[in-house]
């Protein structure tokens, strides 16, 4: 009898030892190629870089991290397929991914059904409103972008604006949010144009806006190729009013495509883009400068806020894993939800059962593009 008990105990210990050596699997689906490539590409690079660094420092809870990442190319269908694969075949412990709102929303029902923690890297507020038990996100929401922009406009005395937005999930969501919060900020929307997903010329829509009397500024809700073309057309038509973009263009890729036309464009974005210009007393400086240096020295290309969202997502996940002491999905989820005061590249995160965005507008700075680079708007 005794031998049997010892034998069983030894087996269990061996099994536990094997279990402890099993890597923590972090799944991801990102738009590395396709129309949202300047979101997904830095996100993928960031996740790879930091999983490597964390593993080199000993991993998390003594276990190595394993990143299982797929390229969903901005396609909601593909995103769904890959998410299914991550959950059912790769058996990941949690997912950090979903570069775009469209892809994220397509995956949410799967996540809720499977009961696996999911940190999305997409923008629209619809992802977390109404709050979904297993879904969190790291970028500022589109509503916060609208509010930040409206605050800036009001401060400059702008009250009548025109909207121009694309056809994507984020575009439409941000447009709806801006229309909702405009009145509360004293902004009147006097023109509202839209363009299609693959459109290559927006001069018609911008001409109409130009012809609308009293427009003091124009806000473009969108990301990817569309805003770059809008910006070029904007310059071509010689519209004098200032152009505002969303944080969906917070990447050098946008400046490259839009060229000189991007001069003077304003957008709300994380302090990450102007890390060096921040005063030393700024609470965000340490984190953003650290990330910027790591990323740029490794990849020899400029940081974008999208990589920053991936960094925030991964680090919050790691923090939650440590707090939960393991990969039990429910415990990790609870741990994420109880994150307080976590300083990421986008600001300080304070999740709660009613708030799965976690950020407030303080981390959102108003930037202006000058000479092809980001500067803090005066």
């Amino acid at each position: 009898m005794k031998h049997r008990a010892w034998f069983a105990a030894a087996l269990l210990a061996a099994a536990a030892a094997v279990q402890a050596q099993e890597p923590i699997r972090i799944g991801s689906f990102l738009s590395v190629t396709g129309p949202a490539a300047f979101l997904g590409d830095p996100e993928q690079k960031t996740l790879e870089l930091y999983v490597e660094k964390l593993n080199a420092a000993g991993g998390v809870l003594g276990r190595k991290l394993e990143l299982v990442a797929y390229d969903s190319a901005g396609d909601a269908e593909k995103a769904r397929t890959f998410a299914k694969r991550l959950i059912e075949q790769d058996k990941v412990d949690l997912i950090v991914g979903g570069s775009t709102t469209g892809e994220t929303m397509a995956v949410v029902p799967l996540i809720e059904q499977a009961g696996i923690p999911f940190i999305s890297l997409a923008g629209a507020v619809v992802i977390v409103e109404p709050v979904k038990k297993w879904v969190f996100k790291t970028p500022h929401s589109d509503r916060q972008a609208c509010e930040r922009i409206f605050v800036d406009m009001k401060a400059r005395g702008t009250t009548r604006i025109a909207l121009i937005s694309g056809a994507g999930g984020f575009d439409k969501s941000m447009r709806a949010q801006c229309m909702q919060v405009a009145k509360a900020h004293g902004i009147e929307i006097v023109a509202d144009e839209s363009y299609g997903a693959g459109d290559t010329d927006m001069t018609a829509q911008l001409s109409k806006i130009k012809g609308t009397p009293g427009v003091q500024a124009v806000l473009n809700c969108g990301f990817g190729q569309g805003p770059a073309i809008v910006t070029k057309n904007y310059k071509q038509l010689g519209i004098a009013a200032p152009l505002y973009q969303s944080h969906g263009v917070a990447s050098k890729g946008y400046i490259q495509l839009a060229g000189d036309a991007a001069e003077g464009v304003r957008l709300p974005a994380a302090a990450l883009l102007v890390a060096e210009a921040l005063p030393d007393s700024d609470p965000q400086k340490k984190v953003v400068l650290g990330y910027k240096r790591d990323y740029e020295s490794r990849y020899k290309s400029d940081v974008s806020t999208f990589g920053g969202h991936a960094y925030d997502g991964l680090m919050i996940a790691v923090e939650a894993l440590k707090k939960a002491g393991g990969t039990d999905k429910a415990k990790v989820r609870d741990a994420i939800e109880s994150v307080r005061g976590f300083m990421g590249t986008a600001g300080a995160f304070n999740y709660s059962p009613t708030d799965h965005v976690g950020l407030d507008v303080a981390g959102f700075r108003m930037l202006e593009i000058r000479k092809g680079d980001w500067t803090l708007a005066r």
Binding site: A204, Q205, G211, Q225, Q236
Partner: protein, 292 residues
């Protein structure tokens, strides 16, 4: 109001010129073989992407453009030699399906050879907008319109004053008679594919500074060029040009005055309307034998 109208007009003519070049490509191949080459849009894509690739590799823009058009021409010749010629006994429908397969292959190769990102070309003579009666236009627009005019003139000279061009026209009128007169239909097919590919690539290079290029721009452009060719009368050179410009204008004016969100719808509604009401197109030729 009229400044706005002028703006829409200029935009419409610019994009219309591109559609016209694509439609001409369709027309030339259709004339030589009755095949609708649905890989035509991919030639536009190859032109733009290759030029962007060469420029990013450091070559000067004129050389990059020339190499891109030349490269596309080689792809067109290869397409004809490897995919169309071996199947020349097959029915027209089969050949059309072969071209659809070729277009998918070309897209895939493009995404591998280059990447799936969006690329741009530097404008040929700068981006400072020019003012014209209250509207503004980019210098690139003048390049597009000018190059299209020159190309159309050269094509007219080619088809009417050179032996090869006349041979192509002869085949389009009556293939059997042309063969009996000693014209090599094979050579005519080869030349028409090469020529169409060059036209498509030229369109791609001209429009890339304005509307960017990526591995999948060929789909929409090919379809719209096809719509333009049908509108103007499939197989007719002047028809292709009229159809292209008309489509561009309808799109631009429609987006301006009706709905900007449904811009693409106009092209496809036109295909339907043209096929139902005007099957021979605006400038269509009455053919002696009308067969599908």
């Amino acid at each position: 109001m009229s400044a706005q109208f002028l703006q829409f007009l200029l935009t419409g003519l610019t994009v219309g010129a591109i559609y016209a070049l694509v439609a001409l490509g369709f027309a030339i191949i259709y004339n030589a073989s009755h095949v609708l080459n649905f890989a035509q849009g991919e030639f536009v894509m190859i032109g733009g992407m290759a030029a962007a690739g060469f420029v990013e590799a450091g070559l000067p823009l004129p050389l990059a453009a020339l190499l891109a058009v030349g490269g596309a021409m080689l792809v067109g010749l290869a397409l004809e030699k490897l995919a169309i010629e071996p199947a020349r006994g097959a029915s027209v429908v089969t050949l059309i399906i072969i071209t659809i397969g070729a277009s998918i292959l070309l897209r895939g190769l493009a995404s591998l050879l280059w990447d799936k990102k969006i690329h741009s070309l530097p404008a040929f003579s700068g981006e400072a907008p020019l003012k014209l009666g209250g509207a503004t236009l980019l210098p690139q627009t003048l390049w597009v319109l000018g190059a299209t005019l020159v190309t159309v003139a050269l094509l007219w000279w080619f088809f009417n004053r050179t032996l090869t061009g006349k041979a192509i026209l002869a085949v389009s009128h009556n293939r059997l008679a042309a063969q009996l007169m000693g014209i090599s239909v094979r050579r005519v097919l080869l030349v028409s594919f090469g020529l169409s590919a060059a036209l498509g690539a030229l369109a791609g290079v001209l429009i890339a500074p304005i509307s960017f290029t990526s591995w999948d721009v060929g789909v929409m452009l090919g379809l719209k060029g096809f719509a333009a060719a049908i509108l103007g009368g499939m197989g007719s050179g002047p028809g292709a040009i009229i159809g292209g410009l008309a489509l561009g204008l309808i799109e631009s004016l429609g987006a301006g005055y009706l709905s900007s969100a449904y811009k693409d719808v106009f092209a496809f509604v036109i295909i339907l309307a043209a096929l139902i009401f005007l099957p021979d197109g605006l400038a269509g030729r009455r053919r002696a034998t009308e067969r599908v």
